[in-house]
Each structure stands twice: as structure tokens, then as C-alpha cells.
Symmetry: C2
Subunit: 366 residues, 2 copies
């Protein structure tokens, strides 16, 4: 059943007249069309008892039609009142709207007030849980795209490792990675590519700059690729030159934690239990205070999506869910290590989408 | 007067207990600290009668403190209820909140519901107009940063032009531009860099790909740089090889339109009138149907910010406002041309921040 029909059934079953969806990721999920509307009105309106439509800036109407969306698009110009146009289009589909489902986690207060203005009889319902429930279970086509995105992420790490040489800067390595990906047709990364050297690896949110690579540095790559709308997200940490004993101890601990979480990842475990498997390894090694973030996050059309894998989330994980596991240890002044894979749960286990080796790679030694 | 004090005065004058600001651009404007919190709670809370604070993920607290923000930051972890922490921090500053200002154009409905939960007595006011009114007038330091960002945009166009050669792809040119900028310390573009060749220039929202450059192509660059938090946005169209008469006619029309809008840009003119100056030139030349978007947009911390320069906006422009003018003509199957500058209005005229030549550049001829 396609997404439009699924949502229409949901509206009928819950006696909700219509849904207005404006999160670009959700619009893409439903329609196959992606756009960044900035401040302009862009969304898909679905009805319990009528066909849906897309509303978008007029100049994007041809692109919506070319994307394969079969229900038509209504355009508005900057000089027009887009809400008026939405109201007319909605009323031509369904005479009265008594209940309207919206993404409460995305819709702004001012948009809600404007919707209240044009649909004065409508009570607002949240459709976030329904969209999360649909998006969290990936179908086989989605898993193929996630796997393709992960393969490109592996390739990116390979390029990054090949580029390392004494004196090169973080930004130069980053550029070489992104150029190689662009040549393979990648137009967008999932997020700002991170390439960090040496002491900078100890900040989980460090920014690449003109730091030059020196022997003895750890190099941390954290990056992802968007491929046909689906994201990957990989982290690898490698050594440039011989690592110290402390660097090795940190690396080994993170690797054991990461492997423990991959091993434990199967349908039925909760997010909190999975977080615990990795965290326990790190705590037992005495580094508990240096693992300062959650284990991972859902992955799909958004690079950070439902569910969040942290110690207070009792959600049982089920087959079809895709997520990252990414334990890390960050010891200021010494080194940071993070290792991250993209996983998909299956009926009887787990598929690891990211494949770049995780044994400590020691580079720059002739 | 700094921004914190300005907002505190605003709250006092309007008898509003507090403001909670979560748009990352506005938080940066007020605090000098920039972060992308994804789904995590991140904002600055200001009070009529107490000192403000930042609330952010715990691992970012040191970064906030290092950024020069003098009023402290309160951290929360993924396993904690961030709203509880916000409530406690707010109540320790101000016993009761009867009115709370929020960015209704940014705050989500679910966040507003959560704020209603922790501040049950608070009525919600919009602080958007106040923030727009503050941000729209740039001070001398902001204008310096906009000028520095524009100079880097000029440099990017220069690199792009130097890179053009027969057979090179749009993505390769794009990569060369971004690498050159990264070497100058630019870590973020204002938006996805656009490099389009030939027929692809006729789409105002085309995407760079593997199209190869051929003699007779127009090349359209639309790009911008973020420099210390401030954006530039430039478009130039150049010819690779000898242009046809029709290409020349389109180019000359856009150039005359753009020059007309720069000439007319002075304090007192309305956004609609300024849009009209350029549109009239294009309509008179018979290309009115092919200028399918507004004239321009405000520019600052956001690349598209208040005000919007379109034909239905009667806002008078005043000294200190920074914005783009970017007329274009897009004739499908023939060519697209857009020319865009960044302007700042002064008391007695206008400063043009982008300086790359606008006479038709004909490249690729030996």
C-alpha cells in the first residue's frame, strides 16, 4: 500500500478530515518530491475522502509534476496569499474541515494560527507519531538506498585515508573526499563532513580547520552521504604514525563497545538496553565519564530521525529499523575516538551497512 | 546598547515577563554563539527583570562559555527532561511568568505546548517583529562582515571563471570553487553552490551535475559564503565562447534591469517600487513572462531574511538594510541569465558589496 493510501486510511480511522504536512522530509517520503521552500509555503494536503495535492511556489510546479507525483500541484507566487490559495484548494476537495492533522513537532505557531484562520472549525491533531511509525520501518527499496548511501560513505573514508600525509590540513582532506564523492554523483552530504586531527579529535563537535597532520595524530572522520534522498552516517578513527599506548587503550575500548552493541542489536532489545551494552564496556574500562553522548539515532530520509538510542528510551527495536551505533571516548588533551556503523534490524539479526574496517588502521608508516 | 539590553527593554516596555528564543540565527544574533541543535533543546531565555541564560546540550556548555557570552549556560543530557531543567532555571530567575514572548514563525506547536506545560500561567506573544526590526538594520560591524563575505563571493566567481574549459563538468567547477574558499578559511557556503551550463541555466532552481561545458554555453554561478556568521549571495552569468544574438539580448536586458534596480535603491523607496524598476525593464523588452521570481531578499545572518523584495511589499527601505537584487530571465531551451548583487542602503545612497564585473564576460576564446 502506498504512503498516500496509508495516510488516508489513518485519517478515516481516526475521523480526521485532512492532514497538512510541511516537513520537507515527510513531504519527500509521501510524494517523492524534495524541495527546500525556505519561508515559502510548501506542503502536501491529504484528505480522508478526497485526493491529495501538493502546494508549492509556482516555479516548482513543473518539478513536482516531473517527479512522478500523480495527484497534481497547486502553485502560488510571492505576490499572492498562499494561505488563501490553500483554503480554496482544500475547500474544493472537502467542504468542511472539523479536524486537521499536522506535524506538531515541525509546524510553527504562526503557521498553525494561519491554518486556524482559514479552517476556523478545525481542531488540531498531531500526526507525528503516525509518520514516525511509518518512516521507522524501512521497506526493501529504502534499505537498498541506505545501503548505497553507506557504500559511498565507506568509499569516502577510503579516499580520506588515502589522502593523509604529513602537513596536509583537515580542510584539504575534507575537500578531496567531497570532490571524489561529487564525481560519483553525490550532490549532498548528510551533514557537515568532519575531519579532525590529533587533539581536535577530543571534541565530539569539533570543526575542521587548518590544523596540519603530524605523526602520532589520530584522525577522526565523521561523514555521511545522501543518495536518492537517503542518508548514511559513518565514523572511523585511524592512526597516522605509531599510536601511544594510551591511544591504543582508548581505541580498543571503543571498538569493543561498538562490537558489543552490534552483537546485541536484534529485534526485541530496547534502545536503552542497546545503549547500555556499549556504555558498560566503556564504564568497565574506566572511561565512563568520557562517553558523553547517546549511543545512536535513527537513520533514513533524515540523518537524525526517530528513534533516539539513549539510556532512557524503553522503545523495543524491531525488524526494519535503521539506526547508528556510535560509541566514543573523548579525553581532553589526549585523544578522541568514535566508531560508528549504520545498522538495519532484520527478522533474525542485523545487517551492517557500513563496511570500512574497524581494526585500528595505522597509516603513514612506510 | 547591546542586544540583550535592547530585548530586556522591549520586554519591560511591553510588560512581558520573559522571552524564549530558539531560532539558531536569532540565538547567534543575541549571544554570538552558533549551534545546530537538531532535535535537542537549545535557546536563550531573557527576562524583563533578571539576567538571561542559554540552555543547550551539556556537551556544548564549554563552547558557549568560550564564545564570549557572559551570562552562563545551563546544560541538559539526552537522558534528562530538558523542559524540567528550563523550568527550574527560569523559576530561579523570575518567580512567575504571566507573559512569554516566542518566535511564532520558528517555534513549533509541540514546543509551545511543552512551554505551556511548564509555564501554565503564561500568555504567548510574538517577538518576531521585534527581532526582525533589530536584525534588519545592520550596524557597522555587521556591514564589515557582509562586505568580507561578499569579497569572498567575488573571489569564488573569479575562481569559477578561471576553471572553465571545454569538457569540464558543473560539479568539477563547483568543487574547485569550494576548495579554493576552504583554503581561505570558509567552512560554510550560504546555500548549495549553483554552477549551471547551457540549457540548464534556464531553470532558476537547477542542480549542478555532470553536464559538460561546450562552446556557446552560458555559465550561471549562484553562490554565497558565510563569514563569521554573515552571508553573501552573488549571481553572475558568463559566456563560454561567442554568444548568439538572442543570448546577448537576454543578457543585456537582465543587466539593464539589474543596473536600474541598483540605481533606484535608496532610503525611502518601497520594496515593491524597487521590484518594479527591474521588472519594468524586462517587461518592456518583452521578457516579462520569463522573470518568474521576486527581485530579492534581505541578507544578514540568514541568507534569506526579512524583508522580502517583491511586488506586493509596501515596506519602505531604510538606511542600514542589506539585501539582494537579482533579476533574471529564463527562456526554456534557449538560456537563463541572472545577475545578483548584495546592497546596503546608506543615509544618502547605496553601497554595492559584490564587485565582480557585470559586463558580459566572454571566456574560452583564445
Amino acid at each position: 500500500m502506498n504512503k498516500t493510501h496509508q495516510l488516508q486510511n489513518y485519517l478515516q480511522q481516526n475521523k480526521i478530515s485532512a492532514a497538512f504536512i510541511t516537513n520537507p522530509d515527510n513531504v519527500f517520503y509521501i510524494t517523492g518530491f524534495r524541495s527546500n521552500p525556505h519561508e515559502r509555503l510548501f506542503g502536501v494536503m491529504l484528505f480522508a475522502d478526497a485526493d491529495p495535492f501538493v502546494i508549492c511556489p509556482k516555479m516548482e510546479v513543473p518539478d513536482v509534476e516531473a517527479s512522478g507525483w500523480q495527484f497534481g500541484a497547486i502553485g502560488h507566487e510571492d505576490t499572492e496569499d498562499a494561505m488563501d490559495i490553500l483554503q480554496q484548494a482544500a475547500e474544493s476537495r472537502q467542504a468542511s474541515l472539523t479536524a486537521l492533522a499536522v506535524e506538531k513537532t515541525h509546524l510553527t505557531v504562526s503557521r498553525q494560527e494561519a491554518l486556524s484562520g482559514i479552517f476556523p472549525d478545525a481542531a488540531f491533531h498531531s500526526i507525528d507519531d503516525q509518520l514516525n511509525a511509518m518512516r521507522v520501518i524501512k521497506d526493501s527499496r529504502e534499505i537498498e538506498l541506505l545501503a548505497a548511501a553507506a557504500e559511498l560513505a565507506d568509499y569516502a573514508i577510503e579516499i580520506g585515508c588515502d589522502t593523509l600525509k604529513e602537513g596536509i590540513t583537515e580542510l584539504e582532506v575534507l575537500s578531496e573526499i567531497e570532490l571524489a564523492l561529487k564525481k560519483r554523483g553525490v550532490s549532498h552530504m548528510s551533514f557537515d563532513t568532519m575531519v579532525l586531527f590529533g587533539d581536535k579529535t577530543a571534541s565530539p563537535h569539533g570543526k575542521p580547520g587548518n590544523r596540519k597532520l603530524r605523526k602520532g595524530d589520530f584522525v577522526l572522520f565523521d561523514l555521511g552521504v545522501i543518495w536518492e534522498g537517503y542518508c548514511s552516517d559513518i565514523t572511523r578513527t585511524v592512526a597516522f604514525g605509531t599510536p601511544s599506548d594510551e591511544q591504543r587503550a582508548i581505541y580498543d575500548t571503543v571498538l569493543r563497545a561498538e562490537l558489543a552493541s552490534v552483537e546485541a542489536a536484534k529485534a526485541g532489545i530496547t534502545a536503552a538496553e542497546l545503549d547500555r551494552t556499549a556504555r558498560q564496556v566503556i564504564e568497565d574500562a574506566g572511561y565512563g565519564d568520557y562517553f558523553t553522548h547517546r549511543l545512536g539515532h535513527g537513520l533514513g530520509i533524515s540523518v537524525h530521525e526517530y528513534p533516539s538510542l539513549h539510556g532512557a528510551n524503553d522503545l523495543p527495536l524491531t525488524a526494519g529499523m535503521a539506526f547508528t551505533v556510535e560509541p566514543g571516548i573523548y579525553v581532553p588533551g589526549v585523544a578522541g575516538v568514535r566508531i560508528e556503523d549504520d545498522l538495519v534490524l532484520t527478522e533474525d539479526g542485523v545487517t551492517i551497512l557500513t563496511q570500512f574496517p574497524k581494526d585500528l588502521q595505522i597509516l603513514g608508516e612506510n
